[in-house]
Symmetry: C2
Subunit: 232 residues, 2 copies
């Protein structure tokens, strides 16, 4: 996973920033599923745990079409992605969305700062820059994935991107000399996946079955999604 302040020379900057944010009451720890209060123009760093970003849409009510009456009730929020330990986020509200952050797991700690305060830590600022550069590339791939017409392409692409970005290596115990697979270390429900890829829970469940049968997606310890090791 891509992290800021992962190198030796910036680890001390990170420690300074953590101390600074605690002294300024800009450091808070959340239990699982608690919403993290956010404001625009502030930079948030996930120091421990993981954060889940969700978008609440204000589309409904803009227009009324015959066909809309047949679609099931729109889910309230759609899943946008995770922000892991050592990663950053900044939220902005669009005209049509309110984007919110939630602690994904217990003991999720977040610190925050104004952008200009980054000038105090030039090394760290450089890593923040590199992180946003990296994110921009990942988001282009996410957009390309969500533009796919077949739901199974969006589903497989979405899970692959998430596991590529946040996955943790595991070894197949029965064949310890084989290549590693990668698993996503957080739970995500079929309903959340459906909200991310514009589908329904029922369809996601069915298509996950297909992907599993073909050995493209698997589960690790029964509730984490994983990409199986590539056959040599």
């Amino acid at each position: 996973m891509y992290k800021v302040a992962d190198k030796e020379e910036t680890k001390s900057s990170l420690q300074q920033i953590v101390n600074w944010s605690k002294a300024k009451y800009r450091y808070r720890t959340f239990e699982s599923d608690r919403q993290i209060p956010t404001r625009s123009k502030i930079l948030y760093l996930v120091h421990q745990g993981a954060v889940k970003l969700m978008a609440k849409s204000n589309f409904s009510g803009n227009y009324h079409l015959e066909e809309d009456k047949n679609t099931p009730e729109q889910p309230q929020e759609s899943f946008l992605g995770f922000v892991g330990e050592g990663q950053l986020f900044e939220l902005v509200d669009g005209a049509k969305f309110e984007i919110n952050a939630y602690a994904q797991i217990d003991e999720t700690s977040v610190l925050w700062m104004y952008w200009h305060e980054l000038d105090n830590w030039p090394n760290f600022r450089r890593e923040v820059f590199a992180f946003f550069r990296f994110q921009q590339q990942r988001k282009l791939l996410a957009i390309a994935t969500l533009s796919q017409r077949n739901t199974i392409d969006r589903l497989y692409g979405f899970l692959s991107l998430m596991i590529e970005e946040h996955g943790i290596a595991y070894t197949n115990k029965t064949q310890p000399n084989q290549a590693n697979g990668y698993y996503l270390p957080w739970s995500i429900t079929h309903a959340e996946i459906a909200s991310a890829i514009g589908s329904t829970r029922v369809t996601v469940t069915r298509l996950l079955g297909e992907l599993r049968e073909q050995g493209l997606i698997d589960t690790y310890r029964s509730h984490y999604f994983c990409l199986p090791p590539k056959n040599p």
Copy 2:
């Protein structure tokens, strides 16, 4: 539209960079629809004109499902977005996509540099940073839009985001005192829109009719999409 080097103090940096890139043969002008050769880890600046980003997917062939046989042939490339004058891009290939850049209009000029070369222009580097920060926010909104289950929400959201980001103000000639509307200064086909939002050309054409009837999307000078002025 958000541009780098739009402020007085960075305009001279931009001119220096243009001169530098020309002297180093890192400046090229393209005719409409020509592909712009790109490499990873290089930063591209659109100096004049506009660039269109497209993703070619390698999904097909990964798996074969009954239902896939009924879907029409997958479009070769999906439209990801525009990069306007004074904006930047960097492309990366994912396992499942090849992302390409094309000149959207004649006389589109692009210059490029390695990332470490940005250190020569600290003011400009700061603006590049701000641009990627801004882009990260825009892309989160794009992802939220594409996660919508109803095609009309994706369509209306996609066009709104594009016009918000790249739109040019126009005044209603018959009521010059009214608020401005905004139009997208480049043509985009219904097939390109369909490829961006995971739909078909036929559906896009039909839903655009619905949005037009409700006064949510209009066309300016008959072939540019626009958001009509908001009624006071």
